[in-house]
Protein backbone atom coordinates (compact mmCIF):
# COMPACT_ATOMS: atom_id res chain seq x y z
CA UNK A 1 0.00 0.00 0.00
CA UNK A 2 2.74 2.40 1.01
CA UNK A 3 4.72 1.63 -2.12
CA UNK A 4 1.64 2.21 -4.24
CA UNK A 5 1.00 5.62 -2.72
CA UNK A 6 4.67 6.53 -3.03
CA UNK A 7 4.66 5.58 -6.71
CA UNK A 8 1.55 7.61 -7.39
CA UNK A 9 2.99 10.62 -5.59
CA UNK A 10 6.13 10.33 -7.72
CA UNK A 11 3.99 10.30 -10.85
CA UNK A 12 2.40 13.52 -9.69
CA UNK A 13 5.74 15.33 -9.33
CA UNK A 14 6.14 16.28 -13.01
CA UNK A 15 2.51 17.45 -13.04
CA UNK A 16 3.10 19.67 -10.01
CA UNK A 17 6.20 21.05 -11.64
CA UNK A 18 4.21 21.62 -14.83
CA UNK A 19 1.60 23.61 -12.96
CA UNK A 20 4.29 25.73 -11.32
CA UNK A 21 5.88 26.37 -14.70
CA UNK A 22 2.51 27.25 -16.24
CA UNK A 23 1.80 29.63 -13.38
CA UNK A 24 5.14 31.28 -13.89
CA UNK A 25 4.61 31.66 -17.62
CA UNK A 26 1.20 33.22 -16.98
CA UNK A 27 2.72 35.73 -14.57
CA UNK A 28 5.28 36.67 -17.21
CA UNK A 29 2.54 36.91 -19.84
CA UNK A 30 0.54 39.42 -17.86
CA UNK A 31 0.97 42.81 -19.46
CA UNK A 32 2.59 45.47 -17.37
CA UNK A 33 5.08 45.26 -14.58
CA UNK A 34 3.60 44.39 -11.20
CA UNK A 35 5.80 46.96 -9.49
CA UNK A 36 4.54 49.76 -11.71
CA UNK A 37 0.94 48.65 -11.31
CA UNK A 38 1.19 48.62 -7.53
CA UNK A 39 3.06 51.91 -7.48
CA UNK A 40 0.35 53.39 -9.69
CA UNK A 41 -2.36 52.19 -7.36
CA UNK A 42 -0.76 53.62 -4.29
CA UNK A 43 -0.65 56.93 -6.12
CA UNK A 44 3.11 57.29 -5.92
CA UNK A 45 3.90 57.69 -9.61
CA UNK A 46 3.69 61.44 -9.88
CA UNK A 47 6.58 62.55 -12.00
CA UNK A 48 8.93 63.20 -9.17
CA UNK A 49 12.35 62.04 -8.28
CA UNK A 50 10.91 59.70 -5.69
CA UNK A 51 8.70 57.67 -8.03
CA UNK A 52 11.42 55.91 -10.00
CA UNK A 53 13.12 55.01 -6.77
CA UNK A 54 9.87 53.72 -5.32
CA UNK A 55 9.23 51.52 -8.36
CA UNK A 56 12.76 50.21 -8.20
CA UNK A 57 12.32 49.47 -4.53
CA UNK A 58 9.05 47.64 -5.17
CA UNK A 59 10.63 45.72 -8.01
CA UNK A 60 13.38 44.65 -5.68
CA UNK A 61 10.94 43.63 -2.97
CA UNK A 62 8.96 41.52 -5.47
CA UNK A 63 12.21 39.99 -6.73
CA UNK A 64 11.59 41.36 -10.22
CA UNK A 65 15.05 42.86 -10.69
CA UNK A 66 16.76 39.52 -11.38
CA UNK A 67 16.73 37.36 -14.56
CA UNK A 68 13.67 35.20 -15.35
CA UNK A 69 15.32 31.88 -14.41
CA UNK A 70 16.28 33.25 -11.00
CA UNK A 71 12.69 34.42 -10.56
CA UNK A 72 11.45 30.95 -11.44
CA UNK A 73 13.82 29.38 -8.92
CA UNK A 74 12.70 31.81 -6.23
CA UNK A 75 9.07 31.15 -7.13
CA UNK A 76 9.49 27.36 -6.88
CA UNK A 77 11.30 27.74 -3.58
CA UNK A 78 8.40 29.73 -2.19
CA UNK A 79 5.83 27.23 -3.47
CA UNK A 80 7.66 24.31 -1.91
CA UNK A 81 7.42 26.01 1.46
CA UNK A 82 3.76 26.85 0.71
CA UNK A 83 4.50 30.55 0.85
CA UNK A 84 1.88 31.79 -1.61
CA UNK A 85 2.85 35.42 -1.38
CA UNK A 86 0.96 38.55 -0.49
CA UNK A 87 -2.13 39.91 -2.21
CA UNK A 88 -1.71 43.64 -2.60
CA UNK A 89 -5.31 44.06 -3.71
CA UNK A 90 -6.77 42.39 -0.64
CA UNK A 91 -4.06 43.57 1.72
CA UNK A 92 -3.54 40.12 3.23
CA UNK A 93 -1.29 37.10 2.71
CA UNK A 94 -2.73 34.78 0.03
CA UNK A 95 -2.41 31.82 2.39
CA UNK A 96 -4.67 33.52 4.94
CA UNK A 97 -7.23 34.56 2.32
CA UNK A 98 -7.51 30.98 1.15
CA UNK A 99 -7.48 29.39 4.61
CA UNK A 100 -10.42 31.52 5.72
CA UNK A 101 -12.53 30.29 2.82
CA UNK A 102 -11.62 26.64 2.40
CA UNK A 103 -14.20 25.34 4.88
CA UNK A 104 -17.14 27.04 3.17
CA UNK A 105 -16.21 25.63 -0.24
CA UNK A 106 -15.50 22.20 1.22
CA UNK A 107 -18.95 22.13 2.84
CA UNK A 108 -20.60 23.14 -0.44
CA UNK A 109 -18.52 20.82 -2.62
CA UNK A 110 -18.73 17.71 -0.46
CA UNK A 111 -22.48 18.09 0.05
CA UNK A 112 -22.97 18.47 -3.71
CA UNK A 113 -20.77 15.47 -4.41
CA UNK A 114 -22.73 13.27 -2.01
CA UNK A 115 -26.05 14.46 -3.42
CA UNK A 116 -24.92 14.00 -7.03
CA UNK A 117 -23.45 10.53 -6.49
CA UNK A 118 -26.46 9.39 -4.45
CA UNK A 119 -29.18 10.63 -6.77
CA UNK A 120 -27.22 10.00 -9.97
CA UNK A 121 -26.32 6.40 -9.14
CA UNK A 122 -29.86 5.61 -7.96
CA UNK A 123 -31.39 7.06 -11.14
CA UNK A 124 -28.82 5.23 -13.27
CA UNK A 125 -29.65 1.92 -11.59
CA UNK A 126 -33.40 2.36 -11.99
CA UNK A 127 -33.05 3.42 -15.63
CA UNK A 128 -30.84 0.44 -16.42
CA UNK A 129 -33.17 -2.00 -14.67
CA UNK A 130 -36.18 -0.76 -16.62
CA UNK A 131 -34.28 0.11 -19.75
CA UNK A 132 -36.24 2.08 -22.37
CA UNK A 133 -39.15 2.22 -19.95
CA UNK A 134 -41.09 5.32 -19.06
CA UNK A 135 -38.73 6.36 -16.26
CA UNK A 136 -35.68 5.78 -18.42
CA UNK A 137 -37.00 7.99 -21.18
CA UNK A 138 -38.12 10.72 -18.77
CA UNK A 139 -34.75 10.71 -17.00
CA UNK A 140 -32.78 10.79 -20.22
CA UNK A 141 -34.81 13.76 -21.48
CA UNK A 142 -34.28 15.54 -18.15
CA UNK A 143 -30.56 14.75 -18.22
CA UNK A 144 -30.25 16.28 -21.69
CA UNK A 145 -31.56 19.50 -20.17
CA UNK A 146 -29.17 19.24 -17.21
CA UNK A 147 -26.28 18.99 -19.66
CA UNK A 148 -27.46 22.07 -21.52
CA UNK A 149 -28.39 24.52 -18.79
CA UNK A 150 -25.81 27.12 -17.77
CA UNK A 151 -25.42 26.50 -14.01
CA UNK A 152 -25.13 30.17 -13.11
CA UNK A 153 -28.41 30.83 -14.89
CA UNK A 154 -30.13 27.93 -13.16
CA UNK A 155 -28.82 29.31 -9.86
CA UNK A 156 -30.30 32.72 -10.62
CA UNK A 157 -33.63 31.23 -11.68
CA UNK A 158 -33.89 29.14 -8.50
CA UNK A 159 -33.02 32.27 -6.58
CA UNK A 160 -35.82 34.18 -8.32
CA UNK A 161 -38.40 31.44 -7.70
CA UNK A 162 -37.49 30.15 -4.23
CA UNK A 163 -35.68 33.17 -2.82
CA UNK A 164 -37.40 36.25 -4.19
CA UNK A 165 -40.93 35.08 -5.09
CA UNK A 166 -41.74 32.24 -2.68
CA UNK A 167 -39.18 33.31 -0.06
CA UNK A 168 -38.64 29.73 1.07
CA UNK A 169 -34.89 30.07 1.11
CA UNK A 170 -32.50 32.95 1.83
CA UNK A 171 -31.20 34.74 -1.26
CA UNK A 172 -27.54 34.55 -0.37
CA UNK A 173 -24.77 34.30 2.16
CA UNK A 174 -23.92 31.43 4.46
CA UNK A 175 -25.73 32.46 7.64
CA UNK A 176 -27.82 35.24 9.15
CA UNK A 177 -25.94 38.02 10.86
CA UNK A 178 -25.76 37.40 14.60
CA UNK A 179 -27.13 33.86 14.48
CA UNK A 180 -24.21 32.67 16.63
CA UNK A 181 -26.00 34.16 19.63
CA UNK A 182 -28.87 31.69 19.23
CA UNK A 183 -26.64 28.72 19.99
CA UNK A 184 -24.85 26.11 17.86
CA UNK A 185 -28.00 24.21 16.85
CA UNK A 186 -29.78 27.25 15.53
CA UNK A 187 -26.60 28.20 13.69
CA UNK A 188 -26.25 24.77 12.11
CA UNK A 189 -29.89 24.85 11.01
CA UNK A 190 -29.39 28.29 9.55
CA UNK A 191 -26.30 27.27 7.59
CA UNK A 192 -28.15 24.20 6.33
CA UNK A 193 -30.97 26.46 5.20
CA UNK A 194 -28.56 28.66 3.26
CA UNK A 195 -26.89 25.57 1.83
CA UNK A 196 -29.91 24.05 0.05
CA UNK A 197 -30.07 26.12 -3.15
CA UNK A 198 -26.31 26.32 -3.86
CA UNK A 199 -25.83 22.60 -3.24
CA UNK A 200 -28.73 21.59 -5.47
CA UNK A 201 -27.59 23.84 -8.33
CA UNK A 202 -23.99 22.74 -8.10
CA UNK A 203 -25.08 19.08 -8.10
CA UNK A 204 -27.31 19.26 -11.20
CA UNK A 205 -24.65 18.76 -13.85
CA UNK A 206 -22.73 16.10 -11.89
CA UNK A 207 -25.94 14.20 -11.18
CA UNK A 208 -26.57 13.94 -14.92
CA UNK A 209 -23.01 12.69 -15.47
CA UNK A 210 -23.30 10.02 -12.74
CA UNK A 211 -26.74 8.92 -13.88
CA UNK A 212 -25.64 8.52 -17.50
CA UNK A 213 -22.47 6.67 -16.58
CA UNK A 214 -24.09 4.41 -13.99
CA UNK A 215 -26.83 3.50 -16.43
CA UNK A 216 -24.33 2.48 -19.11
CA UNK A 217 -22.27 0.49 -16.62
CA UNK A 218 -25.35 -1.21 -15.15
CA UNK A 219 -26.74 -2.11 -18.57
CA UNK A 220 -23.52 -4.01 -19.29
CA UNK A 221 -23.38 -5.64 -15.89
CA UNK A 222 -27.00 -6.79 -15.90
CA UNK A 223 -26.23 -8.88 -19.00
CA UNK A 224 -23.50 -10.87 -17.23
CA UNK A 225 -23.91 -14.57 -16.61
CA UNK A 226 -23.57 -14.26 -12.85
CA UNK A 227 -26.64 -12.03 -12.79
CA UNK A 228 -28.64 -14.77 -14.50
CA UNK A 229 -27.23 -17.21 -11.96
CA UNK A 230 -28.24 -14.95 -9.09
CA UNK A 231 -31.76 -14.66 -10.51
CA UNK A 232 -32.11 -18.38 -11.07
CA UNK A 233 -31.02 -19.00 -7.48
CA UNK A 234 -34.24 -17.23 -6.58
CA UNK A 235 -32.65 -14.14 -5.04
CA UNK A 236 -34.90 -11.15 -4.67
CA UNK A 237 -34.68 -8.55 -7.43
CA UNK A 238 -33.43 -6.01 -4.90
CA UNK A 239 -30.52 -8.26 -3.93
CA UNK A 240 -29.70 -9.01 -7.57
CA UNK A 241 -29.69 -5.40 -8.69
CA UNK A 242 -28.03 -3.76 -5.72
CA UNK A 243 -25.85 -6.43 -4.15
CA UNK A 244 -24.75 -8.34 -7.23
CA UNK A 245 -24.93 -5.88 -10.09
CA UNK A 246 -24.34 -2.45 -8.58
CA UNK A 247 -21.33 -3.55 -6.55
CA UNK A 248 -19.54 -4.34 -9.79
CA UNK A 249 -21.07 -1.62 -11.90
CA UNK A 250 -20.11 1.05 -9.38
CA UNK A 251 -16.34 0.62 -9.82
CA UNK A 252 -16.06 2.48 -13.14
CA UNK A 253 -18.34 5.18 -11.73
CA UNK A 254 -15.89 5.66 -8.88
CA UNK A 255 -13.17 6.76 -11.29
CA UNK A 256 -15.38 9.63 -12.39
CA UNK A 257 -15.30 11.18 -8.94
CA UNK A 258 -11.65 12.19 -9.25
CA UNK A 259 -12.32 14.18 -12.41
CA UNK A 260 -15.58 15.48 -11.01
CA UNK A 261 -13.81 17.26 -8.14
CA UNK A 262 -12.26 19.66 -10.63
CA UNK A 263 -15.64 20.31 -12.22
CA UNK A 264 -17.21 20.99 -8.83
CA UNK A 265 -14.46 23.48 -8.04
CA UNK A 266 -14.99 25.23 -11.37
CA UNK A 267 -18.77 25.19 -10.86
CA UNK A 268 -18.39 26.66 -7.40
CA UNK A 269 -16.91 29.81 -8.96
CA UNK A 270 -20.20 30.83 -10.55
CA UNK A 271 -22.42 29.26 -7.88
CA UNK A 272 -20.67 31.02 -5.01
CA UNK A 273 -20.74 34.26 -6.97
CA UNK A 274 -24.49 34.02 -7.47
CA UNK A 275 -25.27 33.00 -3.88
CA UNK A 276 -22.59 35.19 -2.25
CA UNK A 277 -21.24 32.06 -0.61
CA UNK A 278 -18.05 33.07 1.23
CA UNK A 279 -15.76 30.41 -0.24
CA UNK A 280 -12.92 29.98 -2.72
CA UNK A 281 -15.20 30.42 -5.74
CA UNK A 282 -16.31 33.83 -4.54
CA UNK A 283 -12.67 34.64 -3.84
CA UNK A 284 -11.85 33.65 -7.43
CA UNK A 285 -14.51 36.00 -8.72
CA UNK A 286 -13.27 38.83 -6.49
CA UNK A 287 -9.73 38.15 -7.72
CA UNK A 288 -10.98 38.37 -11.33
CA UNK A 289 -12.79 41.65 -10.66
CA UNK A 290 -9.71 43.09 -8.97
CA UNK A 291 -7.34 41.68 -11.62
CA UNK A 292 -5.34 39.97 -8.90
CA UNK A 293 -3.39 37.53 -11.07
CA UNK A 294 -1.11 36.19 -8.35
CA UNK A 295 -4.10 35.26 -6.18
CA UNK A 296 -5.76 33.57 -9.19
CA UNK A 297 -2.62 31.57 -9.86
CA UNK A 298 -2.43 30.41 -6.24
CA UNK A 299 -6.03 29.28 -6.53
CA UNK A 300 -5.19 27.41 -9.73
CA UNK A 301 -2.22 25.77 -8.06
CA UNK A 302 -4.20 24.67 -5.02
CA UNK A 303 -7.20 23.40 -6.99
CA UNK A 304 -4.90 21.35 -9.20
CA UNK A 305 -3.31 19.84 -6.10
CA UNK A 306 -6.79 19.10 -4.77
CA UNK A 307 -7.81 17.34 -7.99
CA UNK A 308 -4.65 15.24 -7.82
CA UNK A 309 -5.31 14.38 -4.18
CA UNK A 310 -8.87 13.38 -5.06
CA UNK A 311 -7.73 11.16 -7.92
CA UNK A 312 -5.16 9.52 -5.63
CA UNK A 313 -7.84 8.92 -3.03
CA UNK A 314 -10.13 7.42 -5.65
CA UNK A 315 -7.35 5.13 -6.85
CA UNK A 316 -6.74 3.86 -3.33
CA UNK A 317 -10.45 3.34 -2.77
CA UNK A 318 -10.74 1.56 -6.11
CA UNK A 319 -7.94 -0.82 -5.25
CA UNK A 320 -9.53 -1.49 -1.88
CA UNK A 321 -12.91 -2.26 -3.39
CA UNK A 322 -11.71 -4.31 -6.34
CA UNK A 323 -9.96 -7.49 -5.14
CA UNK A 324 -8.59 -8.06 -8.65
CA UNK A 325 -6.18 -5.17 -8.20
CA UNK A 326 -3.11 -6.12 -6.24
CA UNK A 327 -2.01 -2.96 -4.58
CA UNK A 328 1.15 -4.40 -3.05
CA UNK A 329 2.92 -4.59 -6.37
Amino acid sequence: MKAFIQRRLLQFLPLVFGICALNFVLIQLAPGDLAEVVAGETGQVEDGAGSAEYVAELRHSFGLDVPAWAQLAAYLKRLVTFDLGYSHRFGAPVGDLIRERVAATALLGVSSLILAVGVGVLLGVLCARWRNGRLDRAVSAAMALCYSVPVFWLALMLLVVFGVKLQWFPIGGMQEVGIEAAGPWAQARDVLWHLVLPVVTLAVYSTAVYARFTRASMVDTLQEDYIRTARSKGLSELAVVFRHALRNAFLPVLTLIGANVGELLAGSIVIETVFSWPGLGKLTYDAVVNRDTSLLLSLLFLSSLLVMAASLLVDILYARLDPRIDIKR
Binding site: P14, L15, G18, I19, L22, L26, L29, A30, P31, R131, N132, A141, A144, L145, Y147, S148, V149, P150, V151, F152, W153, L156, M157, L159, V160, V164, I171, V219, A259, G262, E263, L265, A266, G267, I269, V270, T273, V274, T284, Y285, V288, V289, R291, T293, L296, L297, L299, L300, S303, S304, V307, M308, S311
Partner: protein, 270 residues
Protein backbone atom coordinates in the same frame (compact mmCIF):
# COMPACT_ATOMS: atom_id res chain seq x y z
CA UNK B 1 -31.43 2.95 -38.75
CA UNK B 2 -34.53 3.80 -36.83
CA UNK B 3 -36.56 6.82 -37.78
CA UNK B 4 -35.35 10.16 -36.55
CA UNK B 5 -37.25 10.94 -33.38
CA UNK B 6 -39.20 14.02 -32.49
CA UNK B 7 -36.38 15.34 -30.29
CA UNK B 8 -33.99 15.47 -33.23
CA UNK B 9 -36.46 17.39 -35.37
CA UNK B 10 -37.10 19.91 -32.60
CA UNK B 11 -33.35 20.28 -32.08
CA UNK B 12 -32.75 20.87 -35.78
CA UNK B 13 -35.58 23.41 -35.94
CA UNK B 14 -34.26 25.35 -32.93
CA UNK B 15 -30.73 25.41 -34.31
CA UNK B 16 -32.02 26.64 -37.65
CA UNK B 17 -33.89 29.49 -35.95
CA UNK B 18 -30.81 30.44 -33.90
CA UNK B 19 -28.52 30.42 -36.95
CA UNK B 20 -31.05 32.44 -38.98
CA UNK B 21 -31.40 34.96 -36.13
CA UNK B 22 -27.63 35.30 -35.90
CA UNK B 23 -27.32 35.88 -39.64
CA UNK B 24 -30.21 38.33 -39.81
CA UNK B 25 -29.43 40.25 -36.60
CA UNK B 26 -27.79 43.24 -38.34
CA UNK B 27 -30.79 43.54 -40.67
CA UNK B 28 -33.47 43.05 -38.01
CA UNK B 29 -31.79 45.25 -35.44
CA UNK B 30 -29.37 47.63 -37.10
CA UNK B 31 -27.24 49.63 -34.73
CA UNK B 32 -25.42 48.71 -31.56
CA UNK B 33 -27.49 46.52 -29.22
CA UNK B 34 -25.55 48.10 -26.35
CA UNK B 35 -27.24 51.46 -27.04
CA UNK B 36 -30.16 52.63 -24.95
CA UNK B 37 -33.26 52.62 -27.14
CA UNK B 38 -36.34 52.10 -24.98
CA UNK B 39 -37.77 52.98 -21.59
CA UNK B 40 -35.97 50.85 -18.98
CA UNK B 41 -37.80 47.96 -17.28
CA UNK B 42 -40.29 47.24 -20.08
CA UNK B 43 -41.89 43.88 -19.30
CA UNK B 44 -42.15 41.55 -22.34
CA UNK B 45 -45.42 42.24 -24.13
CA UNK B 46 -45.91 45.63 -22.54
CA UNK B 47 -44.81 47.51 -25.64
CA UNK B 48 -45.00 45.49 -28.86
CA UNK B 49 -42.31 47.58 -30.38
CA UNK B 50 -40.00 45.78 -27.93
CA UNK B 51 -41.47 42.27 -27.81
CA UNK B 52 -39.01 40.93 -25.23
CA UNK B 53 -38.98 44.10 -23.16
CA UNK B 54 -35.98 46.19 -22.18
CA UNK B 55 -33.36 45.88 -19.49
CA UNK B 56 -32.52 48.17 -16.60
CA UNK B 57 -30.54 50.44 -18.90
CA UNK B 58 -33.24 50.61 -21.55
CA UNK B 59 -31.59 48.27 -24.02
CA UNK B 60 -33.88 46.29 -26.28
CA UNK B 61 -33.71 42.66 -25.09
CA UNK B 62 -34.82 41.26 -28.47
CA UNK B 63 -31.93 43.06 -30.17
CA UNK B 64 -29.61 41.76 -27.47
CA UNK B 65 -30.75 38.17 -27.93
CA UNK B 66 -30.35 38.42 -31.71
CA UNK B 67 -26.88 39.94 -31.57
CA UNK B 68 -25.94 37.61 -28.72
CA UNK B 69 -26.66 34.67 -31.00
CA UNK B 70 -23.92 35.92 -33.32
CA UNK B 71 -21.37 36.08 -30.50
CA UNK B 72 -22.35 32.71 -29.03
CA UNK B 73 -22.27 30.85 -32.34
CA UNK B 74 -19.09 32.58 -33.52
CA UNK B 75 -17.20 31.94 -30.29
CA UNK B 76 -18.60 28.42 -29.98
CA UNK B 77 -17.70 27.44 -33.53
CA UNK B 78 -14.27 29.08 -33.51
CA UNK B 79 -13.33 27.62 -30.11
CA UNK B 80 -14.55 24.19 -31.20
CA UNK B 81 -12.46 24.46 -34.39
CA UNK B 82 -9.39 25.32 -32.34
CA UNK B 83 -10.16 22.48 -29.91
CA UNK B 84 -10.40 19.99 -32.77
CA UNK B 85 -7.26 21.35 -34.44
CA UNK B 86 -5.12 21.03 -31.31
CA UNK B 87 -6.68 17.70 -30.36
CA UNK B 88 -6.28 16.16 -33.81
CA UNK B 89 -2.68 17.34 -34.25
CA UNK B 90 -1.61 16.16 -30.78
CA UNK B 91 -3.58 12.92 -31.00
CA UNK B 92 -2.22 12.05 -34.44
CA UNK B 93 1.38 12.82 -33.51
CA UNK B 94 1.11 10.79 -30.31
CA UNK B 95 -0.65 7.83 -31.91
CA UNK B 96 1.44 7.71 -35.08
CA UNK B 97 4.93 8.26 -33.71
CA UNK B 98 4.54 6.61 -30.33
CA UNK B 99 7.66 6.52 -28.14
CA UNK B 100 8.75 9.72 -26.45
CA UNK B 101 6.47 11.92 -28.56
CA UNK B 102 3.50 9.90 -27.33
CA UNK B 103 4.79 10.01 -23.77
CA UNK B 104 5.35 13.74 -23.78
CA UNK B 105 2.01 14.59 -25.38
CA UNK B 106 0.07 12.25 -23.13
CA UNK B 107 1.68 13.75 -20.00
CA UNK B 108 0.65 17.14 -21.36
CA UNK B 109 -2.87 15.79 -21.77
CA UNK B 110 -2.85 14.45 -18.20
CA UNK B 111 -1.73 17.85 -17.07
CA UNK B 112 -4.55 19.67 -18.79
CA UNK B 113 -7.04 17.17 -17.41
CA UNK B 114 -5.86 17.78 -13.84
CA UNK B 115 -6.04 21.56 -14.02
CA UNK B 116 -9.67 22.69 -13.65
CA UNK B 117 -10.61 23.80 -17.17
CA UNK B 118 -12.91 26.68 -16.43
CA UNK B 119 -10.55 28.16 -13.85
CA UNK B 120 -7.65 28.03 -16.31
CA UNK B 121 -9.81 29.66 -18.99
CA UNK B 122 -10.75 32.42 -16.52
CA UNK B 123 -7.11 33.03 -15.72
CA UNK B 124 -6.03 33.07 -19.37
CA UNK B 125 -8.73 35.57 -20.28
CA UNK B 126 -8.04 37.80 -17.32
CA UNK B 127 -4.28 37.77 -17.92
CA UNK B 128 -4.57 38.44 -21.65
CA UNK B 129 -7.39 41.02 -21.40
CA UNK B 130 -10.86 40.00 -22.65
CA UNK B 131 -11.65 40.09 -26.37
CA UNK B 132 -13.46 37.65 -28.64
CA UNK B 133 -10.26 36.03 -29.86
CA UNK B 134 -8.75 35.72 -26.40
CA UNK B 135 -11.92 33.97 -25.26
CA UNK B 136 -11.72 31.63 -28.26
CA UNK B 137 -8.04 30.97 -27.59
CA UNK B 138 -8.51 30.21 -23.91
CA UNK B 139 -11.50 27.91 -24.50
CA UNK B 140 -9.64 26.08 -27.27
CA UNK B 141 -6.47 25.79 -25.22
CA UNK B 142 -8.33 24.20 -22.31
CA UNK B 143 -10.76 21.78 -23.96
CA UNK B 144 -8.74 19.68 -26.44
CA UNK B 145 -7.76 16.81 -24.13
CA UNK B 146 -10.71 14.55 -24.88
CA UNK B 147 -10.30 14.96 -28.65
CA UNK B 148 -6.58 14.23 -28.40
CA UNK B 149 -7.21 11.00 -26.48
CA UNK B 150 -9.86 9.73 -28.88
CA UNK B 151 -7.81 10.55 -31.99
CA UNK B 152 -4.72 8.97 -30.47
CA UNK B 153 -6.57 5.73 -29.79
CA UNK B 154 -7.99 5.63 -33.32
CA UNK B 155 -4.66 6.42 -34.97
CA UNK B 156 -2.87 3.87 -32.80
CA UNK B 157 -5.33 1.18 -33.91
CA UNK B 158 -4.91 2.09 -37.61
CA UNK B 159 -1.15 2.55 -37.46
CA UNK B 160 -0.39 -1.17 -37.63
CA UNK B 161 -3.09 -2.16 -40.08
CA UNK B 162 -1.83 -3.97 -43.13
CA UNK B 163 -2.84 -1.30 -45.63
CA UNK B 164 -0.79 1.26 -43.75
CA UNK B 165 2.19 -1.11 -43.66
CA UNK B 166 1.69 -1.72 -47.36
CA UNK B 167 1.73 2.00 -48.02
CA UNK B 168 4.95 2.37 -46.09
CA UNK B 169 6.51 -0.55 -47.94
CA UNK B 170 5.49 1.04 -51.24
CA UNK B 171 7.51 4.07 -50.25
CA UNK B 172 4.76 6.53 -49.36
CA UNK B 173 5.74 9.41 -47.12
CA UNK B 174 4.50 9.61 -43.55
CA UNK B 175 2.61 12.84 -44.18
CA UNK B 176 0.76 11.33 -47.13
CA UNK B 177 -0.10 8.20 -45.17
CA UNK B 178 -1.40 10.24 -42.27
CA UNK B 179 -3.42 12.61 -44.41
CA UNK B 180 -4.73 10.19 -46.99
CA UNK B 181 -5.07 6.88 -45.21
CA UNK B 182 -5.20 7.36 -41.47
CA UNK B 183 -7.00 10.61 -40.69
CA UNK B 184 -10.04 10.00 -42.93
CA UNK B 185 -10.66 6.80 -40.98
CA UNK B 186 -9.73 8.16 -37.56
CA UNK B 187 -11.76 11.33 -37.63
CA UNK B 188 -15.31 9.98 -37.84
CA UNK B 189 -15.92 9.68 -34.08
CA UNK B 190 -14.52 13.17 -33.57
CA UNK B 191 -16.33 14.90 -36.39
CA UNK B 192 -19.73 13.48 -35.49
CA UNK B 193 -19.41 14.90 -31.99
CA UNK B 194 -18.31 18.35 -33.19
CA UNK B 195 -21.65 19.88 -32.34
CA UNK B 196 -21.28 18.64 -28.75
CA UNK B 197 -17.90 20.36 -28.54
CA UNK B 198 -19.49 23.55 -29.91
CA UNK B 199 -22.22 23.23 -27.27
CA UNK B 200 -19.63 22.93 -24.50
CA UNK B 201 -17.76 25.98 -25.77
CA UNK B 202 -20.97 28.04 -25.92
CA UNK B 203 -21.75 27.10 -22.31
CA UNK B 204 -18.24 28.00 -21.18
CA UNK B 205 -18.35 31.28 -23.10
CA UNK B 206 -21.62 32.23 -21.42
CA UNK B 207 -20.02 31.52 -18.04
CA UNK B 208 -17.00 33.68 -18.85
CA UNK B 209 -19.06 36.62 -20.04
CA UNK B 210 -21.40 36.25 -17.06
CA UNK B 211 -18.33 36.78 -14.86
CA UNK B 212 -17.51 39.89 -16.88
CA UNK B 213 -14.76 38.21 -18.89
CA UNK B 214 -16.37 38.47 -22.30
CA UNK B 215 -15.52 41.01 -24.96
CA UNK B 216 -16.66 44.33 -23.40
CA UNK B 217 -17.60 45.74 -26.82
CA UNK B 218 -19.99 42.93 -27.76
CA UNK B 219 -23.25 41.96 -26.15
CA UNK B 220 -23.40 38.23 -25.46
CA UNK B 221 -26.05 36.15 -23.73
CA UNK B 222 -23.87 35.54 -20.69
CA UNK B 223 -23.20 39.26 -20.31
CA UNK B 224 -26.94 39.98 -20.56
CA UNK B 225 -27.57 37.54 -17.70
CA UNK B 226 -24.81 39.25 -15.73
CA UNK B 227 -26.46 42.64 -16.24
CA UNK B 228 -29.92 41.32 -15.46
CA UNK B 229 -28.64 39.94 -12.18
CA UNK B 230 -28.60 43.46 -10.78
CA UNK B 231 -32.38 43.59 -11.27
CA UNK B 232 -33.13 40.16 -9.79
CA UNK B 233 -35.95 41.44 -7.57
CA UNK B 234 -37.79 43.49 -10.16
CA UNK B 235 -36.83 42.26 -13.60
CA UNK B 236 -36.32 38.52 -13.51
CA UNK B 237 -37.25 38.25 -17.23
CA UNK B 238 -33.99 40.06 -18.05
CA UNK B 239 -32.18 37.00 -16.67
CA UNK B 240 -34.65 34.41 -17.92
CA UNK B 241 -34.72 35.36 -21.61
CA UNK B 242 -31.01 35.18 -22.53
CA UNK B 243 -30.63 32.07 -20.35
CA UNK B 244 -33.38 30.27 -22.25
CA UNK B 245 -31.58 31.23 -25.47
CA UNK B 246 -28.34 29.64 -24.22
CA UNK B 247 -30.12 26.54 -23.00
CA UNK B 248 -32.10 25.95 -26.20
CA UNK B 249 -29.04 26.46 -28.40
CA UNK B 250 -26.84 24.14 -26.33
CA UNK B 251 -29.62 21.58 -26.04
CA UNK B 252 -30.23 21.49 -29.79
CA UNK B 253 -26.52 21.07 -30.50
CA UNK B 254 -26.29 18.26 -27.94
CA UNK B 255 -29.32 16.47 -29.34
CA UNK B 256 -28.02 16.68 -32.90
CA UNK B 257 -24.61 15.46 -31.75
CA UNK B 258 -26.18 12.46 -30.01
CA UNK B 259 -28.17 11.59 -33.12
CA UNK B 260 -25.11 11.76 -35.36
CA UNK B 261 -23.17 9.69 -32.85
CA UNK B 262 -25.78 6.98 -32.85
CA UNK B 263 -25.91 6.99 -36.61
CA UNK B 264 -22.17 6.71 -37.15
CA UNK B 265 -21.15 4.66 -34.10
CA UNK B 266 -23.28 1.53 -34.24
CA UNK B 267 -21.66 0.40 -30.98
CA UNK B 268 -23.51 3.13 -29.12
CA UNK B 269 -26.93 2.03 -30.28
CA UNK B 270 -28.95 0.52 -27.52
Amino acid sequence: MKKLNLQTWIGAAILLVVVATALLAPLLYPGDPLDMSATPYLVPGQDWHYPLGSDLMGRDLAAGVAHGARVSLLVGAAAAALTLLIGVVFGTLAGYWGGWVDNLLMRLTDFFQIVPRFLLAIILVSVLEPSVWVVVLSLGATSWTHTARVVRAEVLALRHREYVQAGLAAGMGHVRIILRHILPNALTPILVSTSIVVAGCILAESGLSFLGLGDPNLLSWGAMIGTGREAIRTGWYMIAIPGVAVMLTVWSLNVLGDTLNQYFNPKLRD
